[in-house]
Subunit: 234 residues, 2 copies
């Protein structure tokens, strides 16, 4: 059976979330039915949004360091549990023959299939939003979408950087999360793309209604299919 | 900062559990505060209990394959989220200079410190029990313990192999889990060592009272300490 390489650490909790989703969505009755998965959770990769928008250090060298490790292990495909990191996917793909599955493209296709004619709200880092990463993927798939306004985007970034990444107590954030979703719903959103891999972690714990499209889940399923298996529902 | 290598896949869900515990127990405010973690979740490793008790295929070659990958990545220590696999720790340690942290020894020391004078019940695979892996570690640490009787051991193995490994619906198992713990409590157990890495996964979901000692948690903490950080409580 083919194997999966996870170029992770962006952030580590999102990497753990992706790995767990691969495991529970793999049809398996015992250890040996599972897919071999290699992970480099490289916590040294500089922040992607800071690099894209604020002149922060280039993340590509440390991403390449992880990519080389996954190559050495023998990964048959590479997946990256960080939406913003996909801004650098072309640079990485140019460096390796191993296919890197594109989470944003996979997610956009899932949106088109699951919610035809509906309006998506894209919740993502400012790096992902301002570089138009999701906009391009959704346009290509023919998916209508709206992006957060300035105040909403500030709240999305707070939840990602001040709540999930430092893993501070989550329950007090339920009201903030509901209010953010309500605000986007009032502007016409029919469903929400959890377009930063820290957000499915938050959404999973807060358990409020979406509906949500979870790119981590879509990527897990795509990787399982790449390995020739039919994924189970999460 | 030092790095951690996880020799995993025994089983994959337990590997995901250990990785997540390392992440949430690491004191970190952003991605870059975390520890770099390499994982080979090698689903090809043959069953450890089958090898130890029933003449099943030797797991060491596939364990070594994962160990070599972790060496290539540059891991500074190795941890194995499988108690039964520790029967093969001496064979693996003889093959590498990278220290392999011993989950059973770490757990036994935690028991001695946390529950002095109390009686532990050891919940583990038949491979772990019959090779005396925990018995030796607990004796060395001066921890009193009892092991499941034949019927209880059969139930432990059913929960590990028929419930957690194939990840079947868990809620119906709550009564079975409570009954197993009650049975051991009636024989004098003051607390429970979740001495198979599938069991903390089950215990975490069923959320019944222990008290429990979770070797996966103890191993996560020991690995974080190895890297020079003070672990947070789970």
């Amino acid at each position: 059976m083919k194997t999966i390489g996870i170029l992770g650490g962006m952030g580590p909790l999102a990497t753990a979330d992706l790995f767990r989703k691969i495991v529970v969505c793999t049809p398996a009755n015992c250890d040996n039915d599972h897919i071999r998965v290699y992970i480099d959770s490289n916590a040294r990769i500089p922040d992607r949004t800071a690099a894209l928008l604020n002149g922060g250090p280039d993340p590509v060298p440390e991403m390449l360091s992880a990519l080389r490790n996954l190559e050495k292990c023998g990964a048959d495909c590479i997946i990256m549990p960080c939406n913003t990191a996909h801004a650098f996917l072309p640079d990485l793909q140019a460096e390796t023959d191993i296919p890197i599955l594109n989470m944003l493209q996979i997610t956009a296709e899932a949106c088109a299939a699951r919610y035809p004619g509906k309006l998506a709200a894209v919740l993502a880092t400012s790096g992902t939003i301002q570089t138009g990463l999701y906009a391009r993927a959704l346009d290509t798939a023919g998916v209508s979408f709206l992006e957060p306004d300035e105040a909403e985007q500030k709240e999305v970034m707070r939840l990602i950087y001040d709540v999930v990444k430092p893993w501070r107590p989550i329950p007090p954030e339920k009201a903030a999360w509901v209010s953010l979703l309500d605000s986007l719903r009032a502007r016409g959103a029919d469903y929400f793309i959890l377009g930063c891999t820290e957000l499915p972690v938050l959404a999973g714990i807060l358990a409020v209604e979406g509906p949500f499209v979870d790119p981590t889940d879509e990527l897990a399923h795509a990787a399982i299919r790449f390995c020739g298996l039919t994924p189970l529902k999460s």
